[in-house]
Each structure stands twice: as structure tokens, then as C-alpha cells.
């Protein structure tokens, strides 16, 4: 019995062809069908290898191999660590586990020593020998590699004491970064598939749906539709064939929570889909994954293959007569395919142009059959709900938004990464406590939530408890949960233009308001950023925004004016400054900047005059220089070159 999931002896008959009802339970507490102490011991040994207890001889080194840490060099760390362990003859005692993302990619590559929870950040190849000698051999933590609070300089020995993690409640991300996503045994040892087994063996499909309804879970893909209700529609729809589809198209720029779940804990998504399949009466599932996520696709393929190998996916699962198969479809690069009808038509092999609803996918979805479509994070919540019961889940969160939500915290914030918090936490807590505040001590301006379909939250709304309804009321939207923090150096007109550039280039072109309207809104915003706008443009933007929102066919068009409408609502003065004063208050829009030389600081070294490609700078040697703003082409060459910081933009 090499793995927890292998046969203990010849008496075990479980396999895909001859499934055993008690397989999952048996591997953790068995054997069940026969009585043999040796077999029991084998199981317990395998389990204790996975769950090391404090003070144990054995150690488990977790190395993050998520996309972030991989690009910071974590693969190389694995090799070096292997060599070092060999050198010290530690290979038996110390296991290396390659994990998915911990969510703190900025500090990567991350390395964790279990069971002590020692948390090393920004580990380089050259640090490995020291970790092995000092920590693994000598039992002393390598202090210089610990995370240090950027404000106090205080080191944190374990990940639990890092403020970034301390305030989080990692329910969906529970396994991410802590188990090997390429080994189903580790998932099962951590309560994996227990929720599915409970649903399949002890509950009727209706009871499962009832439990999900009770949990209050709402879709994490954007709109927040109650998941249990969606499932019951699919259950009630008539049809000989039904499908379960997972939306893993995560196209929202600035969001990567689905990616991390897929890379770090793929079985949680498979388990959620299995439970859903059982509940709605489907026997086939598709996962539509964005093409830009090769690692997620790889991990999913491995997970599906392992689940099939142990009879968790396939026909007659656990001898119950329930069949379920999962296929992967790779997207081909179109943001609009995250929209449910576009996604389904794309799976069918068409251009991803949304269809009018009704009929909703629950009635007529994939190939015209009733189809349940949910987001990755939504499915990943389901195993927890089944294990702990809908009532318990519903204790978390606010009145109408239950459970936790994963946010991708990025932008001008100190700690960027994935954070999972209970619904209802204030934005201030997320950004200032978990996120550690604004980079470089700058002033907070706003946070953009919900990506291109969302809006911004200014200072005055920072104490808003974050949930679906409060965000909508504030003119923003939960969306997928991307949080981009912006400071005083971010221009809000530029931000609106940025999002419109995105939606304009991703519009499918089917309906008039979105195809033509996004183009015109973008043109107007570009004119304003270039200093060529006029005051009527603001009314036109509002009218266009209103009409596009009201008449577009799908969610992309219906929400794409939000970034404009919300920045107009909270930051109209910035628009007016661009139009009336031809000035960009944040100093971002290049056409509105003038480069100036601080006459006090300038030493007259003449470097800038030589650097300037337009010959706009003049002055006597050793005398303060000046810039002719008419000639200046705003390339910034002078500013970069000045040793005395005498040049500034205004």
C-alpha cells in the first residue's frame, strides 16, 4: 500500500469496475469489509504521513508551485532542496510537497516547514542550504527569511501570525497551498469527497438541494444568484439528459481566485460538480477553462484521471448506480465567453455570441438540454456545505450574503494576494488590516471592485460591510471579486478609459448598443484624457451609459458603463479638471502634463538638455535650466536622467 488509496490486501475489491460503497470511509477508518489490524495500521501510517503532528520527527516541506511562485523561481528550489536533503541523508525523514498558490504570491517563492508552520518568504536557491542546515538539521528557524511586517519590522514565525493571513477565514482556500494538488490521497485525507459521499449515500437529491438552499450560498461568478434555487430549476426541468458546467473562464482582469482554486485544490471543484450532478440528475460535466491557464488545465487533467482511477468519477460510482463524467474544454480567448450563454455556445463549437434569455440554461442549455452552470468558487463551496450542513454555513456572513468570499487584492496596496474573508467584513479591514495599507505611505483614493463590470468605492464608503447588496447599492458590484486599490497617483478618468478599452475590445459585436456604444464611449474618454473634451461630453457619456446599460443584450454590455458611471458619480471633479483646466490632477494623462524644472534644485549640469530629443531644454552651464513646453514631447527622458531630482511633472 504505497498510497492511502491503494488496496491494503487482496481482500479489498474496490476498483472502477467493481466499486465498493464504503471506499472513502474505509480508507480513513477501515478496513470495513474485513478485520485485519495490519491493514488498519497501513491506513493509519499513510494518514499520519500526510498529517504530521507537532514535534514529529518527520517534516514536510511545502513549496508553492502556483503560477506566481513558479515565475519567481520555485521549481528550481525543489531541485536544490532535493540535492541538499540527499547530501544530509534526510530523504526518508523529510518529504517535499509541491502545492498550489498560498495567495501571497508577492512574497514568493514561499516555503513552509510543517508541522511547525514555519513560513519562509522570497526564498532563493542560495538560501536552501541554510534552511536545511539551520532549520531541518539544527532545529533553529532562519530568521532572516521570515516575513517581516512592513510597518513594524516584526518577524512572523508561522503563517498564522502573519497579519495577511491572521484575519482571513480560509474555508474554500483551506487546502490551497497545504496539500499536493496532484495527489487525490491528500485531498481525501483532508476530508475530501466526504461531502459527496454523504450526499450520495445518505441523502436524496432533493435533500441535497434543500441543504444548499439553507446554506444561502449565492453564485460567486458575479450576479450572486442563489445556487440552491438554480439547482432546483435544473432538477425540475424535464429532459432525459442534463449537464453540469463549471465556468472557469475567469476573464476579469485583476482576478485570479478561480485559477488558484483550480491549481491548488482541483478536487474540491470536481467534488462540487459531482454533488451538483447527483442533485440535479446529470451524468456529464464540462469545465470551461480559460486558455491562458495552462497549469490549471494540467492540474485538472491529473485530478480527473486520478478520480477516474479510483472510481470517484465514472460509471456506477461507489456501487450506487450514479454515473458522472467530466470533460475539460479550453477556451480560445474571448472574455465574453464567461457569460453563460456564450460559454455554452462556445462549447458547442460556435462564435461566443450570447443568446437571448429566456430560455435560461436551466431549461435549454448545452445542446438544448437542461444545464446547471456555476462558477469555480461556487462549486468549491459545496463540499464544505455538505460536510458541515447548510445551517452551519449560513452562520457565516451577512443576512443576505452567506459564507466567505475570495478577493484578489491588487494594485497600490502593500500585501497583494488572494484573501478569503467572511461576507460583511468592511473594505477598510480588507485593505488596511489584511492588505497592510497603501504602498509607499501614499493616500488611498478608491478601490475598483468587480472589474470592468464593477465600480469604485471611495474613501467615504470604506466602512461599508462588503456583500452583494451593499456593493450594488454603492454603484459597484461583487463581480468575481477583483479588488484593485488605487491611490492619489491613479487618475480616475484613465481608469474608466482603461476598462472601456477592455470591454470595447471584448464586445462580441452582436448587439448595436454595445458594439457601437462602447466604441463611442471610449472615444469620448480618450478625448477627455487628451485634453480635448468638452462639458457636453459628460452628458453624452451619461446618456450613452444609461442607454447601453438599459438595452444591451448581455451582461457585458449591460454592465460596461459602470466604471464610467461610478467614477462620474464620485470623481466628477477629476473629469472637470481634465476638460476645463486641461489638467490631470493625478499626473497620469501624458497629454495634460507639463514637465518643469525646479529652479532651486537644478544645478545646471546640462544633462537634461543633452538627453532631450526635442531640444526643448535650454540654459547656461551651472545656471538653472528651463523647458519650453511648446517643444516638449513629454517623453520623460529628462526626468529619468536628472541626478538632482530637479524635474517634475505637473
Amino acid at each position: 500500500m504505497k498510497s492511502l488509496l491503494d488496496k491494503c490486501c487482496e481482500k479489498c475489491t474496490h476498483g472502477p469496475q467493481t466499486p465498493c460503497r464504503d471506499f472513502i470511509k474505509c480508507r480513513k477508518t477501515g478496513p470495513i469489509c474485513h478485520d485485519d489490524e495490519a491493514c488498519r495500521q497501513k491506513r493509519q501510517n499513510a494518514l499520519s504521513d500526510i498529517h504530521l503532528t507537532k514535534g514529529s520527527e518527520k517534516k514536510n516541506i511545502l513549496i508553492c508551485a502556483g503560477t506566481g511562485c513558479t515565475s519567481s523561481g520555485s521549481r528550481k528550489l525543489v531541485e536544490v532542496l532535493q540535492e541538499e536533503l540527499q547530501k544530509h541523508g534526510l530523504t526518508d525523514k523529510i518529504k517535499i510537497t509541491i502545492t498550489g498558490c498560498h495567495g501571497f504570491c508577492e512574497q514568493g517563492p514561499l516555503m513552509i516547514v510543517e508541522p511547525d508552520k514555519t513560513f519562509y518568504v522570497r526564498v532563493q536557491d542560495s538560501d536552501v542550504a541554510e534552511i536545511v542546515e539551520q532549520n531541518l538539521v539544527g532545529g533553529q528557524v532562519v530568521e532572516r527569511l521570515l516575513y517581516k511586517d512592513p510597518n513594524t519590522g516584526e518577524p512572523a514565525e508561522t503563517y498564522e501570525s502573519v497579519p495577511f493571513y491572521a484575519k482571513q477565514q480560509r474555508l474554500v482556500l483551506h487546502n490551497c497551498g497545504h496539500i499536493n494538488p496532484e495527489d487525490v490521497a491528500e485531498y481525501i485525507a483532508n476530508d475530501g469527497y466526504a461531502g459527496f459521499v454523504k450526499a450520495l449515500l445518505d441523502m436524496t437529491p432533493e435533500e441535497v438541494i434543500e441543504d444548499v438552499k439553507k446554506s444561502g450560498l449565492r453564485g460567486r461568478g458575479g450576479a450572486g444568484f442563489p445556487t440552491g434555487m438554480k439547482w432546483s430549476f435544473v432538477r425540475q426541468a424535464t429532459g432525459d439528459k442534463k449537464y453540469v458546467v463549471c465556468n472557469a473562464d475567469e476573464g476579469d482582469p485583476g482576478a485570479f481566485m478561480d485559477r488558484s482554486v483550480l491549481e491548488g485544490d482541483p478536487h474540491a471543484v470536481l467534488e462540487g460538480m459531482l454533488i451538483c450532478g447527483y442533485a440535479v440528475g446529470a451524468d456529464e460535466g464540462y469545465i470551461y477553462v480559460r486558455a491562458e491557464y495552462p497549469l490549471a488545465i494540467e492540474r485538472l487533467k491529473i485530478a480527473i484521471a486520478q478520480a477516474e482511477q479510483y472510481g470517484i468519477l465514472g460509471d456506477n460510482i461507489f456501487n450506487t448506480g450514479f454515473n458522472f463524467h467530466i470533460k475539460i474544454k479550453a477556451g480560445a480567448g474571448a472574455f465574453v465567453c464567461g457569460e453563460e450563454t456564450a460559454l455554452l455556445t462556445s462549447i458547442e463549437g460556435n462564435r461566443g455570441m450570447p443568446r437571448v434569455r429566456p430560455p435560461f440554461p436551466a431549461q435549454k442549455g448545452l445542446w438544448g438540454k437542461p444545464t446547471n452552470l456555476n462558477n469555480v468558487e461556487t462549486y468549491a463551496n459545496v463540499p464544505y456545505i455538505l460536510r458541515h450542513g447548510g445551517d452551519n454555513y449560513a452562520k457565516l456572513g451577512t443576512e443576505k450574503s452567506k459564507g466567505t468570499k475570495i478577493f484578489a487584492l491588487t494594485g497600490k496596496v502593500n500585501n497583494t494576494g488572494l484573501v478569503e474573508v467572511p461576507m460583511g467584513m468592511t473594505m477598510r479591514d480588507i485593505i488596511f488590516t489584511i492588505g497592510g495599507g497603501i504602498q509607499g505611505g501614499k493616500k488611498y483614493k478608491a478601490v475598483q471592485i468587480g472589474g470592468p463590470s464593477g465600480g469604485c468605492i471611495p474613501e467615504e464608503n470604506l466602512d461599508l460591510p462588503v456583500d452583494y447588496d451593499s456593493l450594488t447599492a454603492a454603484g459597484a458590484m461583487m463581480g468575481s471579486g477583483g479588488l484593485v486599490v488605487m491611490d492619489e497617483t491613479t487618475c480616475m478618468v484613465d481608469v474608466a478609459r482603461f476598462f472601456l478599452t477592455f470591454t470595447q475590445s471584448e464586445s462580441c459585436g452582436k448587439c448595436t448598443p454595445c458594439r457601437e456604444g462602447t466604441k463611442r464611449m471610449l472615444e469620448i474618454l480618450t478625448r477627455i484624457c487628451d485634453g480635448e473634451g468638452n462639458m457636453e461630453d459628460l452628458d453624452t457619456l451619461e446618456r450613452l451609459g444609461r442607454v447601453v446599460k438599459n438595452t444591451a443584450l448581455c451582461g457585458l454590455g449591460q454592465t460596461c458603463p459602470n466604471p464610467i458611471l461610478s467614477t462620474l458619480r464620485y470623481f466628477k471633479d477629476e473629469y472637470i479638471a481634465h476638460i476645463r483646466d486641461k489638467r490631470c490632477p493625478a499626473g497620469v494623462c501624458p497629454n495634460l502634463l507639463v514637465y518643469k524644472i525646479d529652479q532651486e534644485k537644478c544645478k545646471g549640469c546640462t544633462k537634461c538638455a543633452k538627453n532631450c530629443p526635442a531640444g526643448a531644454i535650454t540654459g547656461e552651464k551651472k545656471e538653472p535650466h528651463t523647458i519650453d513646453t511648446e517643444k516638449c514631447i513629454k517623453c520623460g527622458a529628462c526626468l529619468q536622467g536628472c541626478k538632482f531630482n530637479a524635474i517634475y511633472k505637473a
Binding site: 437571448v356 472615444e523 438599459n550
Partner: protein, 308 residues
């Protein structure tokens, strides 16, 4: 059959269950503009000119794809609806040549009619507009992609005959365009010049080349004729100006009525005072051919000749 009752602009209407709001309005004699809707081809809901206001519904739904339900209240010309229609028309015109004076479709164009009705005088937005070359390399159909409003009717009607399916949507977003395979001119595609697409185009993006410059639509008298070359019995219109028959065009590609080039050519020969010479594609190039060859009658004529 069960029925539902709803009010349209305050007037009660009763229609069979399953009727769209658009059809209910038409039943009640209430006008709603449409571009992409065509009762004979699959629904699409793309142009959004047909939006109406229905209290309780999110946004302004498109009436052509919204089912009328019991007790529904519909407003077809509320301020929000009028603002939306005007804006949509302005958006379309901002990306459309201002070419009505010389356009073949002048007088029979929906874009023109609706702009008039909602008094949209000009584009209203300045900016980039499309600039594609005119496709008039074949003897039958002129395509002007710059006038196309992407209603998709041509695509849907061409694709209704599976082994034609010559055109489809191509590219994406603002660059969306109706294309043949590899975006070649129509003359280089597998098009059979049946003209189904031309009959459904609501604007001047598709026009009959043989009729170009032969007269304005209001100068023409029209007479329906039925093709008898095959069982389909397609209906055509013979157009005449000043008492002279100048052209034959298909009237509509009804359900199960494929339309074809041969039928139209045959009718041209039969009805026109001065039929233009027929062309067929040979080795990829269009060549003028005899009427007998165009109509596939060479064998029969040869036999008739032999019999003397």
C-alpha cells in the same frame, strides 16, 4: 389554446400564450420598429431597436424576443424607450455612410424611415467609422459592408439552406463584419446568387446589380409572379418603370422556398422587355453564357432542334 391579456400603452390586448410582445403590439396596431427580426428566420434579438418598457422588468427588453404574459404592462414610446431608440439610431448612423441621395435603397430603407420617424438628423457622435471596399465583382449582387447594420438576417436566411451557408459573422466587436469564407468578395465564394439575402436586408447593404441605376423604388410598379421551374413555387416581383419591365427580384424566401438563380433568370427572360445577358461561373470566372445554358436547357433544345 390558452390566451393571455396584457396592456399596450394602456390598451388591453388578448393574444395566444407564447406570442411575443412585438406580435401582440402588431396585433393591436401599435408600431414598434425592427431591424433584425424576421418571422421566417430564427430569432436573434441583436439590433435592440425594438426595445420597450415593461415595469418590473430589469432594463428595456427587446420586444421581438420577449413573451407576452398575463397582466403585463407594455409601453412602446415612453421617454426611456424613445431616448434608447434615438441613441441606437444615432449610433448606427455614426458608423454609416451619409449616402441616401444615391443609395439604391433610398425610399425603402428601414434605417432611413426610423431616423425620419424619430427625427434623428445626424450621427451625433464623431469618431472612427468603417471603411471597407465595395464588393461588386460579381454580376448579380452588390455588397456594401459600410452600410451594413449587422442585423444578421442575411446570414440566418443563407444558413437556412445548409449546403449554401455561404456567409457568416466574422471578426468581433466593432470589427464585426458579414464575411464569406476567408472574407473574399462574394464572386470568389460558393454563393449561388439565389438572392435570399438581398430580399431580407433592411438597408442598402445588399443590392441587385442588374437593377442598379434603373430607377428609384417609388417610380416602380410591382407585379407578383410565381416561378414554375420547380415545385417550390417561389414568388418574384416584376418591376416596371414607365410601362417597361426592368427587373425581376425575389419577393421573399418563405419557409421551404429556397429561391435560386435559374428561376430568377428564367423569369427575367420571360418578363423583361430587355433582359440583361446571363452570366455563369466557369473555372472560377464569370462568363456570359447563352440563355439555353443559363437555364440548363441545352440538351432539351438540341433534341427539339433534331425533331425539327
Amino acid at each position: 389554446m390558452s390566451y393571455v391579456s396584457l396592456t399596450i400603452n394602456g390598451v388591453m390586448v388578448t393574444v395566444p400564450k407564447g406570442t411575443t410582445v412585438l406580435n401582440a403590439a402588431r396585433e393591436a396596431g401599435v408600431f414598434i420598429p425592427t431591424f433584425c427580426h424576421d418571422p421566417n428566420i430564427p430569432r436573434f434579438g441583436a439590433c435592440r431597436i425594438c426595445v420597450v418598457e415593461i415595469p418590473g422588468m430589469r432594463n428595456l427588453p427587446a420586444s421581438c424576443v420577449t413573451e407576452a404574459t398575463e397582466g403585463m404592462e407594455v409601453y412602446t414610446e415612453s421617454p426611456a424607450v424613445v431616448e434608447a431608440r434615438k441613441t441606437i439610431l444615432e449610433l448606427l448612423l455614426a458608423n454609416h455612410p451619409q449616402d441616401c441621395l444615391t443609395c439604391e435603397k433610398n425610399g425603402d430603407c428601414r434605417l432611413q424611415d426610423y431616423a425620419f420617424r424619430y427625427s434623428v438628423k445626424e450621427a451625433g457622435f464623431k469618431g472612427e467609422s468603417k471603411d471597407y471596399p465595395l464588393d461588386d465583382t460579381n454580376p448579380y449582387i452588390i455588397r456594401d459592408a459600410n452600410k451594413c447594420i449587422l442585423c444578421g438576417r442575411c446570414v440566418r436566411t443563407c444558413n437556412a439552406i445548409p449546403d449554401r451557408s455561404v456567409i457568416d459573422f466574422g471578426y468581433r466587436g466593432f470589427n464585426t463584419k458579414i464575411v464569406t469564407a476567408m472574407d473574399t468578395p462574394l464572386g470568389e465564394s460558393d454563393c449561388v446568387y439565389c438572392g435570399r439575402c438581398v430580399t431580407v436586408c433592411p438597408v442598402g447593404a445588399l443590392a441587385w446589380k442588374p437593377l442598379a441605376g434603373k430607377g428609384r423604388t417609388w417610380e416602380m410598379a410591382r407585379q407578383d409572379v410565381t416561378c414554375t421551374f420547380c415545385d417550390s413555387g417561389c414568388v418574384f416581383e416584376v418591376l416596371s418603370k414607365d410601362g417597361k419591365n426592368v427587373g425581376v427580384i425575389p419577393k421573399a424566401s418563405g419557409n421551404g422556398r429556397p429561391l435560386c438563380l435559374k428561376g430568377r433568370l428564367g423569369l427575367e427572360l420571360k418578363y423583361l422587355d430587355d433582359p440583361p445577358p446571363p452570366y455563369l461561373k466557369k473555372d472560377g470566372e464569370f462568363a456570359q453564357v447563352s440563355w439555353a445554358e443559363a437555364l440548363g436547357l441545352e440538351d432539351i433544345l438540341a433534341k427539339l432542334d433534331n425533331k425539327g
